[in-house]
Amino acid sequence: MHKQNKYTVSHAPFWHDGDTVTTLNQNIILAALPAAIFGILKFGAPALGVLALAVSTAMLWELAFNFISKREITIADYDSAAIGLLVGMMLPATAPWWIVLIGTLIAVVMGKMIYGGIGGNPFNPAVVGISVLLVSWNAIFDFDAALLNYEFGFTALAPLGALKHQGVAAMDLFQIKELAMGNQVGSIGTVFGAGIILGGIYLILRGYIRWEISLSYVAGILITAFLFRLVNPDLYASPLFHLFTGYTLLGAFFLAPENSSSPVNLTAMIIYGAMGGVMTILIRNVGSYADGTVFAILLINLINPLIDRIRPQALGKGVNNA
């Protein structure tokens, strides 16, 4: 008898399509880069500072939590990095350092880690972080005041703020093309709509986000805004204006489809996405916040477990042919 090797014995299947949590998050970060880099170019070093601080602190909070809870170190999966990047992208370039710190702390620790880490969070962590900031330090998100010292070659007014305070008349100041190309005042990573769409399409094509959610979200925005406008065009802004301003596109492609807090079944995904779009416009047009995206997303996160029960019947269930 010859010497026996030890072979790897494990369970089928013996192949894998190659995806990992790390590649998933790396791709999400990659897809967010066009919009983020545009923001850096536009708002300069402070923007870079905010993004860098957001990403690094997000990872550090997770590391600290890993240590305190004596768990395995999980930051290598880039999940916190992605959360931090998204938080940073939703902040104005002039956000003070402590706001960034608090934002990522809330996002990573309260948004994710206390639920047991990745996969357990019922709400999108980045959205949790930003909404706490929004409620507590609303003035930071007054983009007009925040960006007062900047010289722009275009209407230096935050579109949604202008809409809220000056009404539809202010809309003449904005052209959709300009808005889409990032010629608007806003947070670092959300002004360049075309870039976010590009990233979103990349993620959809590569199968890293669920396209049903993104598309129904966009549809929800467009249809609801269209209906409002149908009722009173003097009071409400156009659908495309809503699409290219505020956090709308980031919400559609990066926030709403976050894995853990969104549904996986077809009908549920469509209801979830569409409701997100509808709620965003409702908050903007009826509510008191200029941009309703993050609250709309918290709301759909909340109903996610309920609607995700709507799922196709499993094989052989409900048939009686035995």
Partner: protein, 426 residues
């Protein structure tokens, strides 16, 4: 291991391999001096076995472990039993193996020859169960299942294998004869045969339905065939046999035809052997041939920590020794290099939804796995459709968190059966 395609709007489309247009004849592996025979019955160390170490056996002789045993192995050679021992398989299933040392006399046993003139289900079941292809003859004699449909599988259900397709393309005459014998023997109402979708169908023998099966995995799985072609929805937790359908490999049909023609059981199994680099060899080896004999013939090296896969990459199982024998149902053997083995992790489910998208049985795998991880098997079955799973393995294949989902599922099913037997015995 296959990498994901760059663009991935739908799920993965895994295609089963097709047999080459002008297939070569299989290469014959010489009968080894020592054969390993597996018997699916546990060895009880406190009892004396019927067959003992040192006994001589004839070619074609059946080996029963105990007097009341119904399971048997058939020795493909004449020789001496040199060892009887326990073998542990998946989930702790215990089987027994015999090692037979071949002698030069090659004395045949004439048990089967005496009854081979009149093909009959009962006698066939008591002599031919371990023919190449493992004909499920006991299913027809089992009073608990009323089989009314026999589906002959001319398609390979797992990826990479082309064994059955090869036999389908090259043994037309035997297939026809085998079908005749089966029809006469079983009196089954409906016989169908599965063929690859692009096969020329000159096989439509009298009264045999031909099912063209898509190349897309897992369309060739029994439950999928039931659903797509017989319009019978598989009942969760029930076997195909419970629903009156039994599946038989095309090789079993051919072996039956040959056995009755030559009035002696046949022992040569055809299989596809796949090297690390993907090269294929079609092989004919006697049942009981240890795998290392085959690897030696083709100079296939195996190293520490490589994986030896018996069966396909989605549903096969890993062998832990090179002495693992070719069995009646071994259609494929492949060696996977240790560097090509994808890792599994203990990450939690991140709810990416890929498993739900890919599952052909609509099982909510993302929820199911949470219950299986917590050992809540009954809840898993009652609320999360554990029993609807048709065991294709696709969920594990796509899982972003690299959870061994399929293993959890099979373990869950296994535990359910244990719980049930416990409850019945209580």
């Amino acid at each position: 291991m296959i990498k994901r395609s760059f663009i991935k709007l739908t799920g993965p489309r895994l295609l089963c391999d097709q047999v080459e247009p002008d297939p070569k004849k299989p290469e014959t592996i010489p009968i080894p001096p020592r054969l390993v025979l597996l018997l699916h019955e546990p060895l009880d160390s406190t009892r004396e076995t019927l067959i003992k170490k040192g006994d001589t056996v004839k070619r074609g002789e059946r080996l029963f472990l105990y007097k009341e045993s119904t399971e048997y192995a058939v020795s493909p050679v004449s020789g001496t039993i040199t060892s009887i021992a326990s073998y542990t398989g998946d989930f702790g299933t215990i089987a027994t193996y015999f090692i037979v040392e071949r002698d030069e006399k090659d004395t045949p046993s004439n048990g089967f020859a005496e009854i081979a003139d009149t093909p009959n289900l009962k006698s066939a079941d008591s002599f031919l169960r371990s023919l190449p292809g493992a004909p499920p003859l006991s299913r027809f004699t089992d009073p608990d299942c009323k089989i009314n449909t026999l589906v002959i599988e001319g398609t390979d259900s797992d990826l990479m294998s082309t064994t059955r397709q090869y036999l389908l393309a090259t043994s037309k005459e035997e297939i026809k004869r085998g079908i005749q014998i089966l029809r006469q023997m079983t009196g089954v109402a409906k016989i169908a045969i599965t063929v690859p979708e692009n096969a020329s169908d000159d096989l439509s023998a009298e009264g045999v339905q031909v099912f063209k099966i898509s190349q897309v995995y897992p369309k060739a799985l029994p439950q999928m065939i039931m659903q797509d072609h017989l319009e019978i929805i598989p009942v969760p937790g029930a076997t195909c046999e419970d629903q009156g359908v039994t599946f038989m490999s095309i090789e079993a049909v051919i072996s039956l035809a040959k056995a009755y023609a030559q009035k002696e059981p046949v022992f040569e199994k055809v299989l596809t052997v796949i090297a690390k680099d993907g090269t294929r060899h079609r092989v004919k080896a006697v049942i009981g041939t240890p795998l290392h004999r085959i690897f030696k013939q083709f100079k296939l090296q195996t190293n520490e920590r490589d994986r030896i896969i018996v069966g396909g990459p989605m549903m096969g199982h890993a062998a832990y020794t090179l002495y693992h024998p070719v069995g009646p149902d071994t259609d494929t053997v492949q060696i996977q290099d240790r560097d090509a083995i994808p890792y599994v992790s203990d990450y939690p489910c991140i709810n990416c939804g890929k498993c739900v998208r890919v599952c052909p049985a609509n099982v909510p795998v993302n929820l199911l796995v949470r219950y299986l991880e917590a050992d809540l098997y009954e809840e898993a079955a009652d609320n999360f459709d554990l029993q609807s799973c048709i065991e294709c393995g696709l969920c594990s294949y796509v899982c972003t968190a690299r959870i061994p989902l399929f293993q959890y599922i099979q373990l869950g099913k296994h535990q359910l059966i244990e719980l049930e037997t416990e409850a019945n015995n209580a």
